[in-house]
């Protein structure tokens, strides 16, 4: 089944920051295109149970039947050629990359972001030098003493079906949308986490380490179950630009917060400009539980991501905090989905987007409060900042409220970095670039503070970096 000759060509793609080429040999490669055989191949390599293979095949059928959602989403989706995509590649032989091969621009980017030397090599794909396996093992050992299960998706389903099977594909059914069906058909990688009742995990768990042990996944599948009264913070991604070889990234993330549980899911992602990033993320909050999505999207050709919370139990809370930055040739189509399904549930959405150059950012939201419920509240705020005259922004919320026991409010504004502001700061000795960067940082500042400290520092630097060259 191996198509090694195709492999090298498949990785040799257009990168915006320099010609980047590695000879990589993969141990397992399902080839290009997607058929039932592809799924058999993946299931076989992973040694999966029959029910998982069946689940994948049913999802494939749904994926094939569902049309592209271009009646509301960007026409750009049509540019994805599903027959050209490689749906499964896995390590085995570690890629032979060396630090010398990394382009200077990228090294410089790392330098300026202040990313530690060891991590840089890891991020640049220079493996084996960054001992992620060890770091991952340390975390795993520390939390497993408390009974926390922290494994990848295949291990989760194989070793702990009694815990994970119950919720797998329940928060986001395969048929939810075309891309969740695709993910359900070919998923690999991602994290499966279970936190037992009452356990409050002190340190945030990071996908960062997890993923490296597994290779970055294109179709990662994450399922996090936090049992009664337990708490967890999970972080994925990093602020450094990820020079992804794959052009399609389609993840599914399901969160389940049992009674009184709390989950905080933090994402910071910075994709290269050729990537389609189409992600389905949703959480299910039981009574008095809280789910917070903190999301930062930078880069990619098209990102479509609308984290959601279904508030199923009384007094459940849902929150989405998101920052998106769209530069030339990029479209950040992000938002939030808040489904109120019990009394006294509250949700909050705060979204800030920045469009630079010819970048386009879109907010798309859904808030649904059905009848027979009492005391539900939603607050939605979305603000957009336009930097250049060719920058674009759109807002498309949809809010349904039934009955008179609820209150919702939605506000959106669009503004510009004003000439007066810039002039004022220049008078005080700042360069134009510094002035713009300062006012952009002011715009996102209250959201950046929601991120853990090391992330917020990197995030600010990253925004500065993206703003470069946007002046004049």
């Amino acid at each position: 089944m191996s198509n090694d000759t195709d492999t090298a060509a498949g990785i040799d793609i257009d990168r915006d920051k320099g010609d980047f080429h590695y000879d990589v040999e993969y141990k397992h490669d399902a080839g290009r295109g997607l058929t039932e055989e592809t799924i058999d191949y993946i299931s076989n390599v992973k040694g999966e149970d029959e029910w998982i293979t069946d689940f994948r095949k049913r999802a494939l059928k749904i994926f094939e039947d569902k049309p592209m959602p271009t009646h509301w989403a960007s026409e750009d989706l049509k540019a994805i050629n599903f027959d050209e995509i490689r749906y499964y590649l896995s390590g085995g032989n570690a890629p032979k990359r060396s630090w010398e091969d990394v382009p200077d621009e990228m090294k410089e980017t790392f330098e300026r972001l202040g990313i530690p030397e060891q991590e840089r090599k890891f991020l640049a794909g220079v493996e084996a030098q960054f001992d992620s396996e060890a770091a991952y093992s340390n975390i795993k050992a520390a939390v497993s003493d408390q009974g926390v299960i922290f494994v990848n998706s295949s291990e989760g389903l194989a070793d702990h079906p009694e815990i994970f099977r119950k919720w797998f594909g329940k928060v986001i059914p395969s048929g939810d949308n075309k891309f969740s069906a695709l993910n359900s058909a070919v998923f690999s990688g991602g994290s499966f986490i279970y936190v037992p009742p009452g356990v409050k995990v002190k340190h945030p768990l990071q996908a960062y380490f997890r993923i490296n042990a597994e290779q970055f996944g294109q179709f990662e599948r994450t399922l996090i179950i936090v049992d009664e009264g337990a708490e967890l913070t999970y972080m994925e991604g990093c602020t450094a630009p990820k020079f992804e070889t794959a052009t399609l990234h389609s993840a599914v993330v399901e969160l389940v917060a049992m009674k009184d549980a709390k989950i905080q899911y933090i994402t910071v992602q910075n994709w290269s400009a050729n990537v389609f990033n189409l992600v389905t993320k949703r959480g299910l909050a039981h009574e008095n539980a809280e789910i917070r999505w903190i999301d930062c999207n930078i880069g990619s050709r098209l990102t479509m991501k609308y984290p959601g919370v279904i508030m199923k139990g009384r007094k459940a809370r849902g929150e989405v905090i998101s920052i998106a930055l769209a530069n030339d040739g990029q479209h950040q189509d992000t938002g939030a989905k808040m489904i109120h399904a019990a009394d006294e549930t509250t949700s909050n959405v705060v979204s800030k987007s920045i469009s630079v150059g010819e970048g386009r950012s879109t907010y798309r939201g859904q808030v649904h409060i059905p009848k027979h419920l009492k005391g539900c509240k939603n607050n939605t705020e979305c603000d957009a900042l336009l930097i250049n005259s060719a920058s674009r922004t759109d807002t498309y919320p949809a809010i349904t409220v039934r009955g008179n026991q609820h209150a919702t409010q939605h506000e959106a504004s669009v503004s510009q970095v004003s000439e007066e502001q810039i002039f004022y700061m220049q008078q005080r000795g700042l360069s134009e670039a510094e002035a713009i960067s300062l006012s952009v940082n002011g715009f996102v500042n209250d959201l950046v503070r929601e991120f853990p400290m090391e992330y917020s520092v990197e995030l600010k630097r990253l925004i500065d970096l993206e703003m470069e060259g946007s002046v004049g």
């Binding site: 009646h71 009848k371 005259s389 922004t393 807002t395 949809a398 409220v401 026991q405 959106a412």
Partner: protein, 432 residues
Amino acid sequence: MKRSFFDTPGPVDGNFPDWYTEAREAAWEEYEEAPWPKRTHEAWRFADLKKLAFDEIVDPGEVGEVDGAELITRSRALEESAGRIILANDRLIADPLLDAEFEQKGVIFKPLSRALVEDSDLVRLSFMQEPARLGSAKFRALHRARLREGIFLHIPKDVSLSRPVEVFHWLSGENTAIFPHSLIVSGAGSSAAIAEYVASANRQPGFCGGVTDLVAGENSKLTHVRTQNMSEKAHSLHVSSSLAAAGANIRSFVLNLGCKWSRSEFTARLSGEGASTDMLAVCLPENGQEMDMRTLQLHEQQHTTSNLLYKHALYDKARTIFAGLIMVEEGAHHTDAYQTCRNLLMSDQCEANSMPGLEINADQVKCSHGSTSGPITDEELFYLRARGIPESAARQLMTFGFVKGAVDGIGHEDLEQVVLGKIDRRFRRILS
């Protein structure tokens, strides 16, 4: 409606120009070929299409003399107007009136069928020039093919119509369908106000598929008020457009009271520098009424301003949909655009859907939109009750104050009084 309109529309009476009759026939083909709306189409999201598809509708019959006389006596609104046209079932039932003073200044205010013959070239310039951008292209074509009567108002350059003109559109008879057309054109530097009242003569079901086009010339000022108080069994699908040239200002106000199902599409185009528009609406649905409001604020040039304020109070099992889009096109720098939709939820069974949207493709733009849905708060009620006002009256008072904010935007005292009178009658009925 689907089935009963399979027959082609009959030939129109009168000596109409070829451009008009040819386009009428083409429109019928366009209607038949255009697909029926689907809920998956974004322009019809949340709409209850089952309510749109009804099939008993017939072309209107003549209104008898006795009924006609009754409708004429019921056609009272403004104390003083500059002119009046009364139509029932898309036919003129009384002689059109226009003050001699304005007739001498060259103001045209007459039934469309006459204007098509007497002022053909003037009508042609602006007649049905705007496409239906918000989902009802099929029904706009139906309107054009079935159109029988309407009004044409034309204000010459620099003429100011100091008092408003009025138009009454009556719908009479079981399952009658009317397609009233209003074309209102103001010349450069002129100003005018016009009120149109659409109502059913009785409680029977029926359909109104109207089109209103407002065309404001440079630096002119147009105010348009439309009230819809059809029977609670009727259906309405209204497509409006406004086009403001440089420096022009268009104010439009819509009051929706009647209909089992009504949909209103309003596109405001700002096509000249410094153009501005105010879009106002009040919807007061009760029982199982559904009111579907779709709007587009289209900024095509620099330094244009638009301001939208829609206020809905929902009773019983009422349902509203508000879908509004602010579109700032490339090059329309220094645009100011605002959009506010507020839903006051008066029962535990009503449903409000809001889709306020923005698309910004220009620079130095100030835009915002806000949408709220909520009940009258206990604090507000407590305050009024503490002053001895019974709860039901307190609720009515709060609601009246809530919708008055939008009525005040009309900026013409007499017209505001007419609208407030209609709102007050509705509240009294709800209260009793």
